[in-house]
């Protein structure tokens, strides 16, 4: 499509079911009650000039440009703040209105630079457009008097600047920050003529203020006052393509606004059903990694990992890889080969990688990065409900009365949905936070949790069981729901279990460190407060009892009847953009796409008939098992697409030993990541901007990924997998990702009704898409659970083996920060570095004082697995005895410290509980220095001989 600004109806949509009919400029118009006159005019094809109104914030009525005449009404009311009424007769264009609007616009323009031809918003400026619309031709007031021309420009933010002389103080930015993002970082400072937009306090600029760079203010600005620096540098885009963000699992829809093959900016798409036109700093701005100088676009090989890399042709790289795979298979059998699919790649690409492993390599040794994040979700929700996915769509949150957020930090890790939660809280919903840290949802501007349960890391199951204890023993269980929807006998067994005094909040207080009264009050609120919805993240899954915690959450939802309708449910917040999809696609070693166990002969036959090969009926190795088997000598080669296991997986020393023991490590990625230090083949990958396919977000929404530019490396990732497959003897002939999606749909019942055309046409399909639910399933388990009766599972609290003691007296828990993403491979190569250029260790003031540490000091962080050093930040966000850091930077590699403990059911690593000691340090650890040397050695690229 060509470039045109997204349609702006001026005021938000009304959700009323009641329709109202009125007349606008002689035309009869019917709109929902509560719609503004401005929006009614816009929806019916008209246009009322406006400046302070935009449809993602409430009407403000300050600019006085949108005046209309209404028959029988006095004066000329602002159409943005005037709701429609039955029989109303509106005139939007009259000589009187024309005169008034010209007068208003003349005043605006009299204090606005007339440098339109050199302005970055030229021809894409609402002020310019509306000046033309009102027919302003002359400005009677000169620049001699007081004005704002020559005002300061704040260029502190890496992505956008604020030019105060271009600002018309419409306050759209302030309201977007308040109402859409919920950060309240911006304000109108001063009064009258002195009014000006200010970020934070007087001493702040945008960078030092509370601004989180979501971009809502930039999007709202009607002039070039707030403008992307990329537009200033390159000019206005000339076309746009709607695609899906490749950062977190929210799955925001964006318009990639392009100039030729150059991406000018990413703008959140208003029609995106996951984000409704909002964005965060990552999706909106942090896409510069796509063209970063570190990006590798040519294949490289080497015989030994101590050799320098040698750039080769695609043919040579694929032949080299295939020869190694075939040799290893011949000598050691198929079980020596495996692969890892990527949650950053498309469904189609993940499907092909697991197909390559099963049908090409001949083993089931396929796994995916969900192993280290949400594999317990798959196990837990499948066991209790029958489906390995969350139950709700994001819109459901608008109907929630009580949120229970456990082990998740949505404002940092899922910021667009975090803003959505905050918006609902500002409307009166209640919040219960279960988290060792005082996250922003506990208290931030205009919101405050009703209860914060700051539990000891590793005691999720104990806290959830004690919440259930209160609900059952105080008679708050929804027995009607349970009798109708769940297995009653299993419920009674479970109810007896949780009712035991040893599961009471009072008994468990010594373990959880949460005051019993707080647990009791939180339980009562959740059980009686209306629609209760549970949202959780990796603070639930990344524990030795991750799967038990997921099942305990499901128990809590069932016992309170909070399943199967809007506003309730169990909602895993997925970390990466396509974690849900990668799991759906059969990436796990024990199951084929659609979560069907590999031992099921009928399912296997479907695939065998389609693929023309026999499949191994035994489950394969999980990632940690692959590494163990490599050290043991029975696992020899791995193909890793879009995943950096050396940095992201626990116990780095063991991961390194496993990789070093393999004969062939093929890394398929954008950059020479940490895992590539141990690779023999590097196959350059393509970014989400360079490929077609689909991503599935945390709501099970299957969304289109559109190719907006040609792959810099020459191939989309699925094409590279196909090259490798064919080189080892497969006969694949996919011409487009749509053909892979057709195969997925053919072989996966929950995708039966999914077609490329429907996805591209915006059908917004949320699986299952079946004959019974041809348009998808926004909310699951509406009439009954997928497994039949909901299953209550007894979840005994089994303390982790990871315990503090004299050597390691503190508990380390790890997490993410807003500006960085996962291992940081993408975001570290963007302007986001300005906010977080290194991992830091949060430590409570008491613990810091005991160790003589102050903010900014270097500290040694040691566990039984290893040690690293990093700077500390002394803060009360963490409780005494608990320290916290992120894992975004390879220089730190927090996973050197994490252990090989894992979830009992899925082997998801226990990242959230590591016993550590923190001591002052002078600088990098011995390991860090050795690793820096290794990296320098491993990344050497042999100089190319000049062509003759």
């Amino acid at each position: 499509m060509g470039y045109e600004r997204q349609k702006d109806f001026g005021t938000p949509e009304s959700t009323s079911n009641e329709m109202v009919t009125l007349t606008i400029d002689g035309r009869e118009v019917s709109v929902p009650a509560g719609t503004s006159v401005m929006r009614a005019a816009s929806e019916s094809g008209g246009h009322i000039p406006k400046l302070c109104a935009t449809d993602n914030v409430k009407a403000f009525g300050s600019c006085r440009l949108c005046l209309v005449e209404i028959e029988g009404a006095r004066g000329t009311p602002a159409s943005c703040t005037t709701p429609v009424a039955a029989g109303m007769k509106v005139k939007t264009q009259t000589p009187r209105l024309e005169k008034l609007r010209k007068g208003v616009m003349e005043l605006y323009i009299s204090d606005h630079p007339l440098d339109c031809l050199t302005c970055s918003a030229n021809n894409d400026c609402e002020l310019q457009d509306e000046a033309a619309a009102v027919g302003l031709r002359d400005v009677r007031y000169g620049y001699e008097g007081a004005n704002h021309l020559g005002g300061a420009v704040d260029g502190s933010n890496p992505y956008f600047s604020f030019a105060s002389d271009k600002c018309i103080v419409c306050s759209r930015c302030v309201r977007a920050c308040d109402e859409v993002q919920g950060t309240f970082a911006l304000t109108v400072d001063g009064r009258g003529f002195a009014s000006m937009i200010s970020a934070g306090q007087t001493v702040d600029d945008f960078l030092t203020s509370e601004c989180v760079s979501c971009g809502a203010c930039v999007q709202a600005c009607p002039t070039s006052a707030l403008m992307e620096k990329s537009v200033k540098e390159h000019g206005k885009p000339e076309r746009s393509v709607v695609t899906t963000c490749a950062y977190c699992g929210v799955g925001c829809a964006f318009r990639a606004e392009m100039k030729g093959e150059q991406l000018i900016r990413m703008v959140p798409w208003k029609d995106g059903k996951a984000n409704h036109g909002h964005s965060c700093v990552k999706g909106r701005f942090a896409w510069g990694y796509a063209n970063h100088k570190d990006r590798i676009t040519k294949p490289m090989i080497r015989e030994k990992i101590t050799d320098p890399w040698r750039e080769v042709s695609w043919e040579e790289a694929i032949r080299f890889s295939a020869d190694k795979i075939k040799t290893i298979k011949a000598e050691h059998g198929p079980s020596a080969l495996g692969g890892i699919t990527s949650s950053r790649c498309t469904n189609e690409e993940s499907f092909l990688v697991q197909k390559l492993v099963r049908a090409g390599f001949g083993s089931n040794n396929t796994d995916t990065c969900a192993r280290v994040c949400h594999s317990p979700t798959g196990y837990g929700l499948s066991t209790t409900f029958g489906t390995s996915a969350g139950t709700q769509n994001f819109d459901s949150a608008d109907h929630t009365d009580v949120f229970l957020v456990i082990g998740a930090n949505p404002t940092d890790a899922h910021p667009v949905f975090g803003s959505r939660i905050k918006r609902r809280l500002r409307k009166g919903a209640k919040m219960i936070v279960v988290d060792p840290r005082r996250i922003d949802l506990v208290k931030s501007p205009k919101i405050e949790a009703a209860h914060h349960l700051p539990l000891q890391p590793g005691t999720n199951v104990a806290v959830l069981t004690s919440l259930a204890h209160v609900i059952v023993t105080e008679g708050l269980a929804d027995e009607d729901f349970i009798r109708e929807r769940c297995d009653w006998d299993e419920y009674q067994d479970w109810a007896r279990f949780v009712s035991d005094e040893k599961h009471s909040p009072e008994f468990l207080e010594a373990v959880t460190r949460v005051p019993a009264q707080t647990v009791r009050e939180a339980a009562r609120l959740f059980a009686t407060g209306g629609n209760g919805a549970i949202y959780y993240g990796l603070g639930v899954t990344e524990h030795s009892q991750g799967s038990s915690t997921v099942m305990a959450i499901a128990n809590l939802a069932m016992v309170t009847g909070n399943i199967g309708r809007e506003g309730v449910g169990v909602n895993p917040l997925r970390g990466q953009n396509n974690v849900q999809g990668a799991c759906d696609m059969g990436s796990f070693p024990h199951e084929l796409s659609g979560y069907r166990h590999i031992s099921d002969a009928a399912t296997r036959k479907l695939f065998e008939d389609d693929w023309g090969v026999a499949l191994d009926p035994e489950p394969g190795l999980r990632i940690p098992n692959m590494l163990d088997a490599a050290v043991d000598g029975s696992f020899k080669a791995i193909y890793i697409q879009g995943e950096d296991i050396l940095q992201s997986d626990p116990d780095t020393h063991h991961v390194a030993a496993g990789l070093a023991a393999m004969d062939c490590v093929i890394v398929h990625d954008l950059f020479l990541n940490e895992t590539a230090n141990y690779a023999h083949v590097f196959l350059p990958g393509s970014t989400f901007l360079e490929k077609a396919g689909t991503f599935t977000n945390a709501e099970r929404r299957i969304q289109p990924v559109r190719k907006v530019m040609e792959p810099a490396n020459g191939y989309q990732d699925w094409q590279v997998t196909q090259l490798l497959a064919n080189a080892i003897g497969c006969d694949w002939n996919y011409k487009h990702a749509s053909e892979i999606l057709a195969e997925i749909s053919r072989l996966t019942p929950t995708f039966a009704g999914v077609t490329w055309e429907r996805v591209i046409n915006g059908d917004q399909l949320q699986w299952p898409v079946t004959d019974k639910a041809p348009n998808g399933s926004p909310i699951m388990h509406v009439d009954g659970f997928v497994r039949g009766k909901g299953k209550f599972v007894v979840t005994e609290y089994v303390p982790t083996d990871e315990k503090t003691g004299p050597r390691f007296p503190l508990l380390l828990t790890t997490g993410r920060i807003l500006s960085q993403y996962n291992v940081g491979a993408q975001t570290r190569r963007t302007g986001n570095q300005v906010w977080h250029s290194e991992d830091v260790l949060e430590i409570h003031p008491t613990d810091a004082e005991n160790r003589g540490l102050a903010t900014g000091d270097f500290a040694r962080l040691a566990s039984r697995a290893g040690e690293t050093t990093l700077r500390v930040e002394v803060t009360e966000k963490v409780a005494p005895g608990v320290v916290y850091t992120t894992f975004h930077h390879p220089d730190t590699q927090a996973n050197v410290v994490t252990t090989d403990n894992s979830d009992w059911a899925t082997n998801c690593p226990e990242y959230k509980v590591t016993a550590v000691q923190v001591t002052p340090s002078n600088g990098p650890s011995e390991w860090q220095e050795e690793y820096a040397d290794l990296t320098a050695m491993a990344r050497r690229i042999e100089a190319m001989e000049p062509a003759e």
Binding site: S335, F497, S544, H590, V794, E796, D801, W904, A905
Partner: protein
């Protein structure tokens, strides 16, 4: 593969089913390992059950008997 690690994994699985009573826990543990463990992991633990808890040991011995009968 490291038998210590495999034994720890099996014991961990058993411990999480223990609240269901011995017989049910043995059955749940057996099914879990059958569904999720690679054949080489099963083969190795069949050969050394010395570090296993009673529930895990019974589960592994049942699995081993089934494998031998197959």
């Amino acid at each position: 593969m490291d038998i210590n690690k495999l034994s720890r994994m099996a014991n961990q699985i058993a411990a999480n089913f223990e609240a269901n009573g011995h017989d049910k826990a043995v059955e749940e543990t057996r099914v879990h390992i059958w569904k999720y463990w690679d054949p080489r992991m099963k083969a190795q633990i069949f050969g050394d059950t010395s570090q296993l808890s009673p529930i895990a040991k019974d589960a592994i011995e049942q699995l081993k008997a089934e494998a031998e009968a197959a």
